[in-house]
Subunit: 362 residues, 2 copies
């Protein structure tokens, strides 16, 4: 697409988009704690780039009150709060012009295995955001893709998972090769590296951004399960094997930084009871492991904002912070207690979307 | 207020705000024709500046479809479609920094003689627009003022009407001197010229922007009633007398350009029947004259967009266009058939608000 390409998240940003959480079937006890966690994430990111929070008409005043004044709050309706997955993919050319790719969004699987219905407001967000930023949209609305299902190095390589991109709820009539072609068209890429899967139990059909993301050119963070008796261990090993046997779009090796996972995290009975019921949403319980992962972080201009899980994971949290600090020696590492985001089904990367640096008109 | 001042509308703009009409008690037959007229106004203004149309979540798709692609459509809820009156007053300083003055809005008279209830969404728009533009807000929310009740020359002079600014539904506990002081504080002005009233029957308590507006420094357009038997004639004469006996903030004379009014315009029975009923809204009928005036125009960067009424007013329309063309020799005069805006209770100036040229950050 005319030399437009999706820059790596580690490249300079002009800002970040977050959506204010509201659904009482996604966020326990009326989303009160989730909102606070979202505000902490927003504030941390706002230390080095402009943050825009999208809030519904109903929640606008509340969002405005919760967010610090230097964070912009803009009215926009949505079906939930996953900016990563519903934002346009921002692509820039060599002159610095930016446009937004409008993929189709179907709530992670549509009527096949999607997570809620309807999803029309979410699906409309990409074009609304393009309008808000006054940039052109590139139409890929005949192809289902969420931002969390890809990670990009900005020089032609895309990471994704077979579990997600080949799932029956997205583009069932397209072959693997056709899917590669569409993904590369939208993102301005040449090569797709297919990992087999992601974090088990991840409701997104195992988005790549919860298991493996580019931390720079030729460098990925891989969520790593150390317990050999845990089925997740096999998945991580299989991903590692693919990565070690792959090269990037320029034919170069990729360094893998292992980021050990937290100990299994479960919802409490009280938390489960704090969720409203919604037809079609997966039932939460106290026995299903939440898809906790440190890889689900945000790489900001001068900060990396990453999840912490606290409690018996305090040591794991610290070790993960240490590894991330070594991977990003020039950035401040900001851990955010993210249990209340995790309960909603994702984490810090899922609720954010970077806007690359670009040339604004006028 | 720190040398911030409201620039004359005839000064360069960075853009214009319009709100997409929706209320079926303001706009006949589901606002279909009004929307088309609004789109024509937006397109005309967009010939020389960026236009942003604010539309509710419900009407967003429809607005996006009706407005040409180069017009930005942004989601924002409102109680009606009067951008002039609910926008912040944009004030700039010598460095080009801009902020927005957030007045209180109470639907032209609140519970005393306001035009609808509630008006909370309208009242929230000023701060939302400041957020949208990423500019600071200046708090004047303890003072009721609508943008249409003032006209400014940008060098310290404010035109207004006694009928509106001294009305009981706005700031009844403030004296005329106190009102002057607050208006000057917000607009960065030094002098208020009080015209007695505006166009008779104007539901806004006779906003000045329907009878007299600055067309430049030391120059106003005055709506002029030529029929000496018409009660409006006396009002126009009284305004003329004030203007001829006033000087601007710099002590200079003001040239008055008379703009003869159209022949009286009335709603048809069919139009009256096309309005939904809303408790509190003034009843429309076929006998009450609509407050038609050519002064209710928009001064754009390279265009002047002005109302035309057609039918038996075709000659009046042409004469008005001629006079406006002479007043703005460097601008293209674009008449828009505005009957469907007038029926809602205002005209082109009422549904628009200019954003001055300013220095954007980032």
């Amino acid at each position: 697409m005319d030399n437009y390409r999706f820059p790596g998240e580690f490249s300079p940003h002009s800002g970040c988009i977050i959506i204010f959480p509201e659904r009482s079937d996604s966020w326990q006890y009326g989303a009160i704690k989730a909102r606070k966690a979202f505000a902490e994430v927003a504030s941390a990111i706002a230390k080095s780039e402009k943050v825009t929070v999208l809030a519904s008409a109903k929640q606008y005043d509340n969002a405005r009150r919760l967010m610090p004044p230097h964070i912009r709050v803009v009215e926009m309706s949505s079906d939930d709060a996953w900016a990563r997955d519903v934002s346009p993919s921002f692509v820039v050319n060599d002159k610095g012009d930016m446009r937004g790719v409008n993929w189709s969004f179907n709530a992670w699987g549509g009527l096949y295995d999607g997570l809620y219905f309807p999803w029309d407001k979410d699906d409309a967000i990409a074009l609304k955001v393009c309008d808000l930023l006054d940039i052109d949209a590139y139409d890929m609305s005949d192809f289902v893709l969420e931002g969390g299902s890809i990670s990009v190095d900005g020089i032609g390589t895309v990471l994704t998972t077979e579990a997600c991109l080949l799932s029956k709820g997205r583009n069932p009539d397209l072959s693997r090769a056709e899917i590669e072609k569409r993904v590369c068209e939208g993102l301005g890429a040449e090569k797709v590296i297919w990992l087999p899967g992601g974090i088990l139990g991840d409701e997104t059909n195992e988005h790549v951004d919860n298991i493996c993301v580019f931390a720079g050119e030729q460098r990925v963070l891989l969520s790593w399960c150390e317990d050999e008796n845990d089925p997740q261990h096999e998945v991580c090993k299989a991903c590692l094997s693919v990565l070690l046997n792959s090269t990037d779009a320029k034919g170069r090796k990729i360094e893998v930084i292992k980021l050990p996972m937290p100990k299994p995290v479960y919802m409490t009975k009280e938390e489960v009871e704090g969720l409203d019921y919604c037809f079609g949403e997966p039932t939460r319980d106290t026995e299903s492991r939440l898809s906790a992962s440190y890889v689900n972080l945000y790489i900001g201009n001068k900060v990396v904002v990453m999840p912490a899980f606290g409690g018996e994971n305090e040591d794991c949290d610290k070790r993960a912070q240490q590894i991330v600090a070594e991977a990003f020696p020039d950035k401040e590492i900001i851990p955010i207690y993210a249990r209340d985001i995790l309960i909603g089904g994702g984490n810090i990367h899922c609720i954010t979307h970077q806007i690359p640096l670009y040339r604004k008109e006028g």
